[in-house]
Amino acid sequence: MTQVATLPDPLAEVAPPRGRSGGAAWAAWLARRLGLAVLTLWLVSVLVFLATAALGDPVRAILGRDYDTNVGRREQLEAQLGVGDSIVTRYVDWLGGLVTGDFGTSLANQQPVWQQVSDTVVNTLVLVLLAAAVMIPLAFGIAMISAHFRRRRPDTVIQTILLALAGVPEFVTGILLVALFSTSVFNIFPAVTIASPTARPWDTPEGMVLPVATLVVAVTPYVSRIVRATLLEVLDSDYVELARLKGIPEPVVMRKHALLNAIVPGIQVIALQLAWLAGGVVLVETLFSYPGVGRQLVDSVRNHDVPMVQALSMIIAGVYIVVNLVADVLSILLTPRARTAISS
């Protein structure tokens, strides 16, 4: 190599922040994030309590016409809900129970809430995780195929179909799937998940096909569209152009330069949709009589079973907050700019 003199004073430029020794900074950042999550959860509890206990009169709602006649039952319910106490006292009692793991007693059947909820939580998690396991590869696959054909016919067709599906409410999709696969047209899958109250849903796997499929159809279009848009944006970026002009083969450009930068928005949209699933299960579980949190919630709302609704709402909101927290941390870990901004 020809000798070229090193140019003068190259280091005179502002030294950029160092990306090392940020352990303490990381801990502080994480602590702040966790603190915010706890704060949000606490505000959520206030809101849940106010909405269920302060807005209406659950005892009147439960007893209906019997409110005036069945005084004994009324007093029993009022005692259980602590109607006589001030709202602050009731909230503090309830919150104290939540923190110590005591979710209270169901008004409908006088069983501890925790006991009734523990199984259904697992059932719902299984349902959501199955749906996610199918949805993620499917959505990314469709997005990559679509991006490959960018703005040509296959892309347009895929995008139009996805767009149409994205708008349809999940229970509408579910009913259409039921009509198609478990009634007159094809009688392949059962329309309800399980009949016996003690059995677990996965004991009859064919019963889980339609609920999972419904959730997948409800979520995939959205994720897939976002991932495609991100991929296209990245493929149009200057650094991908430079990689091509450097003579890097197209598959490597795709794999190393494009996908790496498209993954963070992908994670965020998946998190958003997983969190959405926490609400989406309400309808899908009801539709398919799936023994999960969602159906339990709807039943409890119908029965005006305040302690159950409070517990289930807190669980759903908690899942939402945790999923978002995890997604935030992952996104930051995978984005060098954000990562170094914290540690410096």
Binding site: A5, E13, S237, G247, L260, P336, R337
Partner: protein, 601 residues
């Protein structure tokens, strides 16, 4: 080499050079030329400057040398010959092999051209790794050598950085190192120093020139900046509206520009050595599909005759190796680089101070950006605040204009102390000090019409309303050379130069005594900058408006202002009349700025 190159291409290209013949690029949907009829030779070891304003197609030509066109355009005709092989005809696999290894590209905006999530070291060795060149150690060593060549640190810590952890100049030099690593024969540089400070720009340009010479690489340097070309190029090609208007050795083009466009362009740029009365080029650069028949420049040319509009003129030889695309090339006379120079502002003029800044300290949060700055501005005077990025020049102007309120010290207007933020100043003070922003694409509400934008200050300050206001809007538009036909246009329909004129008219509508101009020409083409500067000079003379002119361009300072404050890291390092500071600088920093600024003539 006076004969057109296409006759005997093989004999005129020595090994290592590149020949472009009759290159044309069109839009994909419509049969519209983006560029056409491009003939160009790059000889080994030589730097050819490809100069043009926005819309000239210079970048399109640059990437075409790598057989690449951006989405929406395609290379439709011509040859790019590298050692006898036509790059445009090669099979796809060979083109890819050739990119990087034989023809390398240095991008315009390296900050976005380096992958944000791959470490610098990895990006540097990527190509060699893919091609299986050498071992892991030898590749790493080559990357370290490459970084040393461009004057960057090459330790492990540096290799592990991401692009966002480097400064602008460092990023650009990484891009240069990356381009030189595979030892290419041809280098295409696409405005690689846009947005860099002059000292950094100088360093990057020197590095590039040195590497080209020592490696025997020929380079095509694409830029809008004539002054840069005057400093680094061996030959110059001036592009206008998709064609080469003039082509020749650098000295010949600058000493004897033969195309009217080249002359107009040179008339519009300021010189470091002497004040000039700058002139713009009237009208706009026509977009592809809207270009005039015949000579593309005919609708804006001062030398135009009927024959110009008949057919596209060929490149006509002016002197050996020097050609211009103008049929009147022999008739338009000689030209002098010093045409248009005027006496510098008189340093001994009596000053009647209207605005003074005393002991200004400005903060952003807890960080102090500006330290104890003191200067003043007299009636009918232009004072320039000059400095590189981070010098605090814009911060000072924003504090004076009341747009930033975290500051201490005093800003006195006619002796009275002004409140910190515009909102807490009196309406009269707000009216009399007007602020004009750098980027006219951001400073006008795209939803409003020109009339609404210009008349708003009149209504707000109770200067005029109704029919009277409309009349005044029309007067102001005439004054800033905007046609009255644009009255009901939305701002989004205007070009950058037109928008900046609207912004000036909006400021004038308030009938100000002081205008704070924050880099108001830096987002514009040089020919547009010329006309804006001419407009400001007229306003100063006719209305006696004082201006605080923020800029990074020292040459521009010479032509526009009477006094100058040189800023570095938030402090004034040197101040005084323009003639004194620029001809006999006292401070080392000023001298360095002056010597690093590219010069024309």
């Amino acid at each position: 080499m006076t004969a057109p190159t296409r006759d005997v291409p093989q004999t005129t290209t020595p090994a290592g050079g590149l020949v472009v013949e009759d290159l044309g690029v069109t839009l994909t949907g419509r049969p519209v030329d983006v560029v056409d009829d491009i003939d160009l030779v790059l000889r080994p070891g030589e730097v050819v400057g490809l100069v043009g304003e926005s819309g000239s197609g210079k970048t399109t030509v640059g990437t075409s040398l790598l057989a690449y066109s951006r989405a929406g355009a395609l290379i439709s005709s011509g040859k790019v010959l590298l050692e006898g092989r036509d790059v445009l005809q090669l099979p796809w696999k060979e083109v890819r092999q050739l990119r990087g290894e034989e023809i390398a590209y240095v991008p315009q905006d390296p900050a976005s051209a380096l992958n944000p999530s791959i470490r610098i070291g990895k990006q540097l060795v990527e190509l060699h790794q893919l091609r299986g060149v050498g071992t892991a150690e030898s590749r790493l060593q080559a990357a370290r050598d490459g970084l040393a060549e461009v004057g960057l640190p090459n330790d492990d810590e540096f290799l592990r950085r991401y692009a966002h952890q480097l400064s602008g100049g460092q990023v650009q030099r990484v891009a240069l190192a990356m381009a030189f690593l595979p030892k290419p024969k041809v280098l295409v540089l696409d405005e690689p120093t846009t947005g860099l400070d002059v000292t950094t720009q100088k360093m990057v340009l020197d590095t590039m020139a040195q590497l080209c010479r020592s490696h025997g690489v020929c380079a095509l340097y694409v830029t809008h900046d004539l002054a840069v070309v005057a400093n680094i190029a061996d030959r110059v090609a001036v592009m206008y509206a998709g064609q080469i208007a003039e082509l020749g050795p650098k000295d010949a083009v600058f000493a004897n520009p033969s195309h009217p466009y080249t002359r107009a362009l040179l008339d519009s740029i300021p010189h470091l050595s002497q004040a000039r009365a700058l002139k713009g080029i009237p009208g706009r650069t026509p977009a592809p599909g809207a270009r005039p028949d015949g000579c593309r420049f005919s609708d804006r040319c001062t030398y135009v005759v009927d024959a110009c509009k008949q057919q596209v003129p060929p490149l006509i030889s002016v002197a050996p190796d020097h050609e211009a695309r103008c049929i009147r090339v022999g008739e338009i006379g000689m030209w002098d680089i010093n045409r248009g120079t005027v006496p510098d502002a008189d340093p001994n003029r009596k000053r009647d101070v209207i605005l003074s800044v005393e002991g200004l300290n400005v903060f952003y949060g807890r960080k102090q950006i500006v330290h104890d700055v003191t200067f003043d501005l007299a009636k009918g005077e232009v004072v320039a605040l000059v400095g590189e990025s981070g010098s605090g020049k814009t911060t000072i102007s924003r504090s004076v204009g009341g747009l930033h309120k975290e500051w201490t010290g005093a800003v006195r207007f006619e002796g009275r102390e002004l409140a910190r933020s515009a909102r807490s100043r009196s309406a009269e003070d707000r009216r009399r000090i007007q602020y004009i922003f750098q980027n006219p694409y951001l400073s006008l509400n795209p939803r409003l019409t020109i009339e609404q934008i210009i008349r708003r200050p009149m209504e707000l300050f109770g200067i005029a309303k109704g029919k009277q206001a409309t009349d005044r809007v029309l007067q102001l538009m005439e004054q800033v050379a905007l046609g009255s036909g644009m009255l009901h246009y939305q701002a989004s329909r205007l070009s950058g130069g037109e928008r900046q004129r609207v912004a000036i008219a909006r400021a004038l509508a308030a009938e100000p005594d002081v205008m704070v101009c924050d880099e108001i020409t830096s987002a514009l083409d040089v020919s547009v900058q010329g006309s804006i500067v001419a407009l400001l000079e007229g306003l100063r003379k006719e209305r006696g408006i004082s201006m605080l002119f923020v800029t990074h361009n020292l040459a521009l300072v010479r032509s526009i202002s009477a006094r100058v404050e040189i800023l570095q890291a938030g402090r004034v390092v040197e101040a005084g009349s323009v003639v004194t500071v620029m001809d006999t600088p006292r401070e080392e920093y000023t001298r360095k700025l002056l010597s690093d600024s590219p010069r024309v003539g």
